[in-house]
Amino acid sequence: MATNHSSRDSLFRTFSIAGSWLWLGLFALLPTVVLLLVAFLDRGEVGFFIPSLTLDNFRELFGPVFLSVLGDSLRLALLSTLVCLLVAYPFAYALAKANPRRRPWLLLLVIIPFWTNSLIRTYALILMIGAQGMVNKLGLALGLIDVPLEILYTDFAVFAGMTYTFLPFMILPLYASMEKLDPSLADAAKDLGAGALRTFWHITLPLTLPGVVAGCILVFLPSLGCFYIPEILGGATNMLLGTFIKNQFLVAKNWPLGAASSSVLTLFLVLLAVLYRFTSRRVAANMPLRASRNEE
């Protein structure tokens, strides 16, 4: 009876694991591999591509157009990641230190935006920062400004939109790593003569580093590849990586070049994932579960 039960269990396990592998293989791995293959093919006159191997696509990526797109995108993504980090770190810290009864409500405030599609929220931003938007109306009404500010359709609007949209992705992993932090460690540092600043530098920051890295990856990557925020909020002049890729596929019908630039983005993702594994392993290796400390 028992063996029957456990064999059914293992059957279930086999199926569910095989199921998720199949899903991942079909809808994640296969498209990526196909994309990578297409990146090495030539552009067709009629179809999307013709089956002749070439490195031309990557050569084109090293041209001035793509490099400036990549540079702009990297700069913007880095800037929004940095600002998200600077805003989210104290916020997550306050969240982790908040009264346990108030904490779920504060967390709810972070999560509520997810209930609305981010595309819709981006459109909502237009109502806020447009020439006739709330920000300008309020500024004019209060006499803070004489003419409406030109915020919408600028780089700043894109930056603000990205920071706004991706901030929760920074807060949540930071909060997770801070909540795990044993408060007696900071007490111990103070007890040993470290002031607030040095306690933060030597104890709090190193031990929350996995959260910092995870948050940065979760903000940096979507900022780098995001196309709808720059399309909706940005001006016509500056093209970013996401828009570039989208245009290759949908406008220029140059699938191989789109695939090549998309592969470059994927490469960034892989590199960052490796970086994350490295840092989190380093810290996790030194942070056993609290129960295991008592073992003799």
Binding site: S184, A189, K190, D191, A194, I203
Partner: protein
Amino acid sequence: METLPILELRGVSKNFGTTLALHNIHLEIANGEFFTLLGPSGCGKTTILRIFSGFERPTKGEVFLNGIEISGTPPEQRQVNTVFQNYALFPHMTVRDNVAFGLRMQKRPKEEIALRVAEVLRRVHLASYVDRMPHQLSGGQQQRVAVARAIINNPLVLLLDEPFSALDFKLRKQMQFEIKHLQRQLGITFVFVTHDQEEAFAMSDRVVVMQEGTIAQVGSPQEIYEEPESLFVARFVGEINVLEGRILAARGNGVYDADVEGMPFILHSRREFEEEEAVKVLLRPEDLKVYLEQEKALPPPFFLGTINETVYKGATVDILLTLDNGKKLQAAEFFNEDDGDITYRPGDRVAVTWVEGWEVVLNEEGE
């Protein structure tokens, strides 16, 4: 000549919101003393420790360290170090970096730090573990690192917050011995917090028993155990039998004629009692003498009773019995060579008395 106490509380009270954690505490701790705060959870002992370390500020009253008022001084500026309950070792640092942390915060030269770290680790028998991470150490070793990390700073006072609670029985005994030994070697004042009376007695020069934010009694372990000033203290530091009595007459010099559970006894006490005053007579199980009723040699006064049960404890036998008036008592007898047979069977008729003068007599307010 009174020497200055190293640590002193003067009229310290502490409120957490509306709850009163400490009420008007006066306490003096002498330099070089092993001093223990003993009490059940919630009695305020940890709050006192946190006031000493600087993590709590008293709502009222003053704290003196070496004669200087420090209640407003933050923890990082006090020459006091703590061994935390769960050790609070920095998980991302090696044993060396953990132990060196305090000296690094003081910006000591590198050579001095290296020398002192090596010396203090040798002292706690961890010299070969400098490069380990905390999670690679056993509980006892982590404990020693926590102690080393604190004493390397040469604190005026070392605070220990229930440091043995995570260790198993055998290791706890060993660490108690090591800590006590270390305290004698270093000559530093240790202030120790525990809820375990046996641990408190084994280690301390003096013990303060706390009860609901107030001091129930301060004294040497022997004073606390043998001369408890209240029923709370008596009960908290061990098993106790409480007999109801009434003073009949005072003979002077602290000797009284009394009626105890209906029998005439002579009681000794340094306390003053009036005639007809109701009293409680406290006796430790090991103070009671139990004899089989057949051994008629026993001079009165004594109680008669019946054995309920005996519990073999190794070195002692616990005897549970009921007096003929219904009162239940617990006695403990040691095995010894001369008196080989101290086993009783349930239902055996026995006579019970105690060595005159070993009783503690409290009035009704001692509750």
